[in-house]
Assembly symmetry: C2
């Protein structure tokens, strides 16, 4: 790494740390005022944003980026309005900071409570979507944190303009402009510095594909809120309602293919397989979903007249397709299903379809995933759907925040002790 | 590292991971039965424990270890009974595992709750005290985790016997004996392997001095629950009750010198200094506490007839003495005190003595430490005193658990979703 990049990042870190102290003290009114001002400026400067974004888009096209990439990069009047609406939504959320849990009096006389406080400085590392600049910054601000944003080099012009707008909003609310800083270099070594400067950054939230996350995981010293894979399972139990199983499993796979909470593997109890598989697989094949099946599932489906099935390999069970492909396995019972999930799952989201309460309870308790569901589509694993209002990301780790992470995940609890002159004896 | 140590540690890790699944399913009754059986065996085998412990003690003496070291290593009838009582106390604590928070119905119809679950596998790395083997294992078992214990090589004979007793207790309760494993090699590279085997260990709790923690921090890939320093401050505000300030500050420094929650720096408001400092420093000097003071404090104390004061250096403000030494600084106001704490503190425990409610509230909100206290001795920062029942350690970090860490800190929350066939639209 060049000395200048290191110095630049250290300076950004110092400024963020200093700004984080002021942010921790900021009132809810101040923070909301800043967020509303940013929304106002975004609407006012919508056409300017599009003009600047076009520079990024043209460069991406010139560099031969594919259509999906350009699509993620492009800001339309609709995506710009969505950013403004998102800011207003975050204004409407309760401010978690400063709340103290009920004080508990101890034998010594002291009273103990816990106060919710910001983490301090959050680092966000993301790829081509410029709207993450606004979404991530607004969650960090509302939760009283300072934030360092490092977006993809392809979106640098859009992100730089959005950062200016955010800083104008901060200034209007008399908050430190350094509370939101965008790393202005496209030099990749800036990321290497960010993920190791533990003295200035309290947590990194990487947003992007698996290869980005894996690369960061290998080198990071700063803790991360992240997930690598979303290999989500649905298990159709012997006691499932067949119509419900068909409806939910169709939705879990086909409502959208790309999200991390889409189902990738279907596990079916052998007793219900002959009933439910033909109904469900008809729908999948009509929608163009490729089915990769084990031997038992193949037998069931071929007996029902299906063709075009692919043999599932060991690799299929550990693959997050993010595409119209589904692996299917017939299992003897719920234990076999849970063992499969334990072995191949990614601890993201797993569901059971059953009307049997004791089976449901065992599945909920024993499956070790961030979200465990009964009779619902895995697609619900999302901060909005869980009532968090918004999410900064989804964590598959068990320490700190697990599952969809909202404002609370960007905070910590400190102990507050109210005494009356008590001493320890 | 030798290949054989690596293989041995990997095998221990695999066994722990497998055992952790059974532990997560274990009932409270089973876990309590194991803990009570261990307590029974400890009492029954008390003399055998002392005989084996004597081997460690003799070796330590032969190796020239100092008296304090030998003291920490030695197990007496009293320390053995304390271990048995500790086990019984942990039996009496509520089992956190499996509890589900109130379900919240969402607009889609799904109901969301959070279930408390074990972290999985805990690694404990500690130094010479063999009682940590029992204390740490019992907290990990009660919270449904498997644990890998790596004690100091000096206590290897004691720890190996205690591990056998624990495993007999597990077997009696039909729990997997691999749920508690003691690393039987004294090869230091075993620690290096432990702190990097992220696939098998979910969190490391290091228990020991600063040099141990610093060494582990530099190399660990597994997250740690830990603190490095306890540079605890008390600030005597202008509006403090003088008698209370004297009583609390005496206790915070002199009740015991070695614990991490003992006060190391006293900050005194300039308006109250001339009243409170002579009263307090008389007590300190009578107890043999060396006073390292800034210029203003020296003036105040010398005007009151004190002598034998040492000039505080920059290094004093950042030193955790753990000894009868106290640094004292006179400050203009609370802001100067908070700035000092921000600059030199270790985010462990800091207190204010004041009768002014608004000052107290600002101090509680703005001081960024794991424990912040009003009108109480910093010595209260402790899991027992906070009503947690027991503690596995104290964390100065903000992610996951902060401050004294009890059973809950060894657990995580997973989302549980109860549906009725809902799909995402």
């Amino acid at each position: 790494m060049s000395a200048s990049i290191k110095e630049m990042m250290q300076e950004i870190g110092q400024k963020a740390r200093a700004a984080s102290r002021a942010m921790a003290r900021a009132s809810s009114e101040q923070k909301n005022q800043a967020l509303l001002h940013i929304a106002k400026l975004i609407r006012e400067q919508a056409s300017e944003i599009q003009v600047v974004n076009q520079i990024d888009v043209d460069r991406a096209r010139k560099n031969g980026q594919d259509a999906a990439f350009v699509d993620r990069l492009t800001m339309t009047p609709k995506t710009i309005e969505t950013m403004a609406l998102g800011l207003e939504q975050i204004v409407s959320l309760d401010d978690p900071i400063g709340k103290i849990s009920a004080l508990q009096k101890q034998a010594s006389g002291i009273e103990i409570g816990q106060m919710r406080v910001p983490l301090g400085v959050i680092g966000i590392i993301y790829e081509s979507r410029p709207n993450v600049t606004i979404d991530a910054a607004s969650l960090c601000l509302k939760s009283g944190n300072a934030v360092i944003l490092r977006g993809g080099s392809e979106a640098i012009d859009s992100n730089t303009l959005l950062a200016k707008i955010i800083q104008a909003g901060l200034a209007a609310a008399h908050l430190p402009m350094d509370a939101v800083q965008v790393v202005s270099t496209t030099d990749r070594s800036a990321v290497g510095e960010m993920i190791t400067m533990t003295q200035y950054i309290d947590v990194i939230v990487p947003r992007g594909g698996k290869s980005l996350i894996a690369r960061l995981m290998a080198e990071a010293r700063v803790p991360m809120i992240k997930h690598l894979d979303g290999i989500c399972h649905t298990y159709i139990d012997a006691d499932a309602d067949v119509a419900m199983a068909v409806k939910v499993c169709d939705n879990a796979k086909t409502q959208r293919y790309a999200p991390c909470n889409a189902m990738e593997t279907l596990l079916v109890n052998q007793n219900i397989g002959p009933t439910v598989l033909p109904l469900l697989c008809k729908i999948y094949q009509d929608k163009g979903v490729e089915l990769r099946v084990d031997t038992a599932t193949r037998k069931t489906l071929e007996a029902a007249g299906f063709s075009g099935l692919v043999d599932a390999t060991e690799e299929d069970w550990q693959t997050e397709y993010l595409a119209p492909i589904l692996s299917i396995k017939t299992v003897a019972d719920m234990d076999e299903a849970m063992n499969h999930i334990e072995r191949y799952g990614s601890k993201h989201t797993d569901a059971i379809i059953t009307n049997n309460q004791s089976q449901a309870h065992r599945f909920l308790r024993e499956v070790d995933s961030a979200s465990v569901m009964v009779n619902a589509s895995t697609r619900f694993a999302d901060g909005f759907e869980y009532g968090l209002g918004a999410e900064i990301g989804i964590s598959n780790d068990k320490l700190h925040a697990r599952g969809p992470v909202g404002l609370d995940g960007l905070t910590s609890l400190k102990y507050v002790v109210m005494g009356h002159g008590e001493i320890r004896t």
